[in-house]
């Protein structure tokens, strides 16, 4: 919300300069987000006097003027018709930035020199009289700065108003805060009303059918209203705070709203059927056209202001086109009401219509300020529009909104805010913002909350007022003495951190992808509709189609990240993400959130270097990572098996389940080329996924160290020619089973297919390590076992020796 310093000065005399004022307001809880000078663009605009006018030799509509700007006289080409010799005008000099975006330069117009511009109010942004240029009265002196001579000096402060402070959504409210900060006095505008018209109650009546929605409605009637543009000062006030002047009647309602915080509405009395007001809820789907010429469809709990026959305004939000003030309006019915905040909020939200009025009503206006505001507006209409004010107000107030008293303990105040102002200090602080205080006993005080402070309901609210008026920075910082609660760190947090740390050790970069994905992600992964991942948790109000549903898999986000990197020519990637997926849960209100990790490797396994050639990564590179990760987690019984039904986004035949003791903890494989295509990825990607929920129970809770072997080991190599279909694990299992005790390790150091190995066969070389925990093994014994193993393997797999 914008406030103008010069406007505020009407209610409080401001001692500080603008910077200090802005700072003090910020520290009192009204954050000043920016300060601007609405007339900054006028610093090169001077009062000029037209000395002579001559016709332009080459243009009929233009004239060449000599303009006295104090220290010199300049030539200006002008097209306005209302200029005359001797006129005092506003002359903008080169360098001026006009509000319409024009930057003035010394120029020549059809060969005639023009060293400035004679401006209209509109061009200067100081009014809306655009017919002809601004003619100043004789009190001004040529050469003086226009903004100084017209007193166009102001500072407009933008307040980031928190929702609890509707009382400060007006000048008087902010002025009250300034008065408290500077120990000044708040001056309310004096109202003297000349009510020379007939009794208001003979002119109109107000019926409230739904007092829950509208606890109070006051109306006044004004006769002989002359609708016209507002005087300059009023337009200036409104423009400064960002409101567009319309006509004097509407401007007055806006002015009073900005002054007091009470939104007002002016109806053309003669457009109201039966000249009366009925406040009632709308009928479902009732249509209504608001002032902005849009047709609205109402719902049954929205509140209408109606005349004797038809709706004329959406209560607290916007008036109707059918009863708008127009140039010919002569009689005005002025509304000043208190609408229920939640009622206005619901209506404004559902209609998608936020107005200055709804902003204030939904936060809560001062129910006791209704009359002050309507009188103030009547006074101004009388003064500005020449209106005859009818006698009295029709004020219907079926449900009095009770005033608030709060009993506050001084001791508890000290205990909460950490400083110890005494009762007297508290009283004087609260009085400065119009709270009244009555001591009850040594500790308790009774605080009467002014009706405009709708946010203050509890003792703690009073304590906050005390703290902020003293200043938060006056409160000493101390260390809380309470004992730390030492809880065992959760295993989950520990493991996750450990897994991430290990992946980084293996050379992988952590990524964080958005939790939402595009709704077609499941299709791009080729998932079938029976897969729960095809039925994501959908957002009702997504920002875009790409972020429409909560992810049911970490894979799409990772593939997107790969694509983005490839677009940047980052082609060698080792990435992981540890995060949550969200699966619909039919019986629970919230989806199931499952955490896991996805890791990918794409590009090279080995970067080209003077000592090594480049090699592309493959399945076994990533498998090695998974094995190492499991090793870091002390999981010994990891096996990989062909999936019964692999996720369809993996390439068939290049995918494996990770099993620990019959439990599937994850999956590893090469991404299917169709899926890569769907993400515009043109190089193979290897990916693994592990679900933490399945993994954690497999991690041994206790670590126990094993003694180191005391006797040396011996190795023997064996090369076999096998059927291509025989899998390594089958052979290793058979080899181990030959002598579980003494075969301590088997490595496969070569796998070869092709010449001279015959078609359908492969050669595999094994290095078997033998070790005993009881003795140093003798050669003869090892040879015997080795031969046994060879015989068994040859027999089992119909293998040959090379």
């Amino acid at each position: 919300m914008k406030v103008s310093k010069s406007w505020l000065s009407e209610y409080v005399s401001i001692q500080s300069d603008t910077d200090h004022l802005a700072d003090a307001l910020t520290m009192a809880g009204l954050e000043i987000e920016s300060v601007s000078d609405p007339y900054a663009h006028l610093k090169n605009v001077l009062v000029g006097k037209i000395r002579s006018i001559a016709p332009h030799p080459k243009a009929d509509r233009l004239q060449c003027c000599r303009v006295d700007i104090g220290d010199k006289t300049i030539s200006v080409v002008c097209g306005a018709k209302n200029i005359f010799e001797g006129a005092l005008i506003a002359c903008a000099l080169p360098g001026t930035h006009l509000p319409n975006g024009l930057i003035l330069k010394k120029t020549s117009i059809r060969d005639e020199l023009s060293e400035g511009m004679i401006c209209s109010e509109t061009e200067l942004g100081i009014g809306n009289a655009h017919e002809g240029i601004l003619i100043l009265d004789n009190s001004h002196t040529p050469g003086t700065l226009l903004n100084e001579t017209l007193n166009l000096n102001d500072a407009v402060m933008e307040i980031g108003l928190t929702p609890n402070r509707p009382d400060c959504a007006c000048m008087i409210g902010v002025a009250r805060e300034i008065a408290a900060i500077e120990s000044g006095t708040l001056k309310y505008p004096a109202i003297t009303l000349n009510e020379s018209g007939p009794d208001c109650s003979t002119m109109t009546s107000v019926t409230i059918e739904n007092p829950d929605h509208c606890p109070r409605y006051a109306a006044r009637v004004m006769l002989n209203v002359q609708v016209a543009p507002s005087p300059f000062w009023l337009q200036q006030r409104l423009s400064a705070v960002g409101l567009r002047p319309i006509n004097n009647v509407v401007d007055i309602t806006n002015f009073v709203m900005m002054e007091t915080g009470q939104p007002l509405h002016a109806f053309d009395y003669d457009l109201l059927d039966e000249h009366r007001i009925v406040v009632r809820t709308a009928r479902q789907d009732e249509k209504f056209t608001t002032l902005d010429k849009k047709e609205r469809t109402m719902e049954s709990d929205m509140l209408f202001i109606c005349d004797g026959k038809k709706p004329v305004a959406v209560a607290g939000v916007m008036g109707g086109l059918n009863s708008e003030i127009h140039d010919g309006t002569q009689r005005v019915l002025l509304e000043s009401a208190y609408f229920q905040p939640t009622s206005v909020r619901k209506t404004s939200k559902r209609l998608g219509l936020n107005t200055d009025a709804s902003y204030r009503f939904e936060r809560g206006i001062d129910p006791e300020g209704v009359i002050f505001a309507i009188n103030r507006a009547a006074q101004l209409m009388n003064e500005i529009c020449g209106a005859t004010v009818c006698k009295g107000i029709v004020d219907v107030y079926p449900h009095t909104i009770p005033s608030v008293h709060i009993d506050v303990s001084v001791k508890k105040t000290h205990q909460l805010i950490g400083i110890t102002p005494d009762q007297e200090q508290i009283e004087s602080l609260l009085k400065s913002i119009e709270f009244t205080v009555n001591p009850i006993d040594e500790d308790l005080i009774r605080v009467n909350v002014p009706s405009f402070r709708v946010d203050v309901k509890r003792p703690q609210d009073i304590m906050e007022e005390v703290a902020r008026l003293v200043g938060y920075n006056e409160i000493p910082s101390v260390s809380p003495g309470s004992a730390a609660c030492v809880e065992r760190p959760s295993r989950h947090l520990f493991y996750r951190q450990y897994i991430k740390q290990s992946m980084i050790g293996f050379g992988f970069f952590e990524t964080i992808n958005y939790s939402f994905i595009s709704s077609d992600s499941a299709d791009r992964l080729k998932l079938t509709s029976d897969d729960p991942r095809c039925h994501p948790v959908a957002l009702l109000n997504p920002i875009s189609e790409d972020q429409a549903v909560m992810r049911t898999s970490l894979v799409p986000g990772m593939l997107e990240t790969i694509r983005r990197n490839l677009n940047q020519k980052n082609v060698n990637l080792k990435l992981f993400e540890s995060g949550k997926i969200f699966l619909n849960h039919s019986n629970a209100p919230l989806p199931q959130e499952r955490e896991g990790i996805v890791g990918i490797w794409t590009g090279t396994s080995q970067i080209e270097n003077w000592q090594q050639t480049e090699t592309a990564c493959n399945f076994y590179d990533l498998k090695g990572v998974v094995e190492a990760l499991m090793h870091r987690l002390y999981i010994k019984k990891l096996t990989f098996c062909k999936p019964e039904q692999a996720d369809p986004y993996f390439r068939k035949g290049s995918v494996a389940w990770m099993m620990v003791k019959q439990n599937k903890v994850g999956i590893l494989g090469e991404i299917h080329s169709d899926v890569l295509g769907a993400y515009q990825i043109k190089q193979p990607v290897y990916l693994f996924e592990i679900n933490y929920e399945a993994l954690y129970p497999m991690i041994p809770e206790k670590l126990s160290a094993r003694p180191l072997p005391r006797y040396p080991s011996t190795t023997r190599d064996m090369t076999l020619i096998l059927d291509k279909a025989v899998q390594a694990k089958e052979i290793l299992d058979v080899m181990k089973s030959c002598n579980e005790k003494l075969v301590s390790d088997i490595q496969i150091f070569s796998v070869y297919e092709g010449n001279p190995i015959s078609e359908g066969k492969k050669s595999m070389s094994f290095r078997i390590t033998f070790r005993s925990w009881e003795e140093t093994l003798k050669d003869e014994k090892i040879n015997q076992i080795h031969t046994d193993i060879a015989k068994t393997v040859i027999k089992t797999f119909h293998a040959d020796l090379p």
Partner: protein, 338 residues
């Protein structure tokens, strides 16, 4: 004929003298051959030992063998000294050739920042808790004193799943979830992802937050200031000024926003702090009694404070990152800098 001992002494002194004079590898080898070679002087002596009188033979043989050992060592050392000296003079390998590449990964900068912040609070005795990201309206709003149809809901643009289910807009629901389960004292921090329906240069629809809560007897606003001051001094430095200014959060009363002196310009005013000299990094306040009532804590006995901060903002300040969206692009050239 000279006594054998004299002869050996003579051989020793001849050998050592010529060795001392030699500076060349081949000369040393020649000298070595001269004395120890197949036809060498000492070899000759040893071979002819049987010609010596019986009584001196054992002694002479022993001495000759000792001398042989001694000379062998001397020649060996002399040769290796020369070889070492030669090696030392060689230009050596090109140590400027790059090493064999080792790929090293890295934590995401937000994880790094998160860890750093959590570490400070862990030292201050806070425990880390986590909770669901898809949350009931009750925990995200109502229990935090943000009723439906309250303008305070405008402070956070919310993603809705249904009328009663939202993506959490802050990690504050963990306050409620924790207090529902535990009796005071409570001392927790809740890091995690949060979501708001907002996407532009300064907003991503998902971001990360850390919420803190401390509840105990006799906790006041000064304690809140104390903890947050310690925190800021740890994360930035001891000279960083803080200011607390009144603000509004529905679940705290009094509420404050916490600004730190701009870490870029030290308060002089710059682009980062919009010329104000201050940066807003935290929201905080004393726990609102309505919140305590919702979890059945005795408001006469207990008070507490809560605070929350955005991790991205602090990471941007700490690491000098100018565009929030970089965090979620996951460009490897960005990630590789942390």
């Amino acid at each position: 004929m000279n006594a054998p001992s004299n002869m050996l002494e003579q051989i020793q002194s001849d050998a050592l003298e010529s060795l001392a004079a030699a500076s060349d590898e081949s000369v040393i080898q020649e000298i070595q051959t001269h004395f120890l070679g197949r036809k060498g002087v000492l070899t000759h002596f040893l071979r002819n030992i049987s010609d010596l009188p019986k009584e001196v033979r054992p002694e002479a043989g022993k001495s000759a063998n000792v001398l042989k050992k001694k000379l062998e060592t001397a020649f060996h050392n002399a040769l290796s000294d020369i070889q070492t000296a030669k090696q030392d003079q060689e230009p050596g390998i090109d140590i400027t050739l790059p090493g064999r590449p080792v790929s090293c990964g890295a934590f995401h900068p937000l994880t790094l920042m998160n860890q750093e912040i959590c570490d400070v609070f862990k030292q201050l005795g806070f425990e880390i808790v986590e909770g669901p990201e898809v949350e009931l309206d009750y925990y995200n709003f109502e229990a935090l004193n943000i009723p439906k149809d309250h303008p305070a809901r405008d402070m956070q643009d919310t993603f809705y799943i249904s009328d009663n289910v939202v993506l959490r807009t802050h990690t504050s629901p963990l306050q409620i979830r924790t207090m529902e389960k535990r009796k005071p004292p409570v001392r927790i921090i809740a890091p995690g992802k949060v979501y708001r329906c907002d996407s532009d240069i300064t907003h991503t629809p998902m971001f990360q937050q850390i919420e803190g809560l401390l509840v105990d007897k006799n906790i006041h606003f000064g304690h809140l200031k104390g903890i947050l001051t310690t925190f800021v001094h740890h994360i930035f430095d001891e000279q960083t000024l803080l200011r607390f200014r009144p603000s509004f959060f529905p679940f705290t009363e009094p509420s404050a926003e916490v600004d730190i002196q701009c870490v870029m310009c030290r308060g002089d005013g710059c682009r980062v702090c919009s010329q104000t000299g201050w940066l807003e990094i935290l929201g905080a306040g004393m726990v609102h009694p309505a919140v305590f009532e919702n979890v059945h804590y005795d408001t006469d006995q207990y008070t507490g404070f809560a605070f929350g901060m955005g991790i991205e903002r602090i990471a941007m300040l700490k690491y000098g990152i100018d565009d929030l969206r970089k965090f979620y692009d996951n460009d490897i050239r960005f990630l590789n800098q942390f």
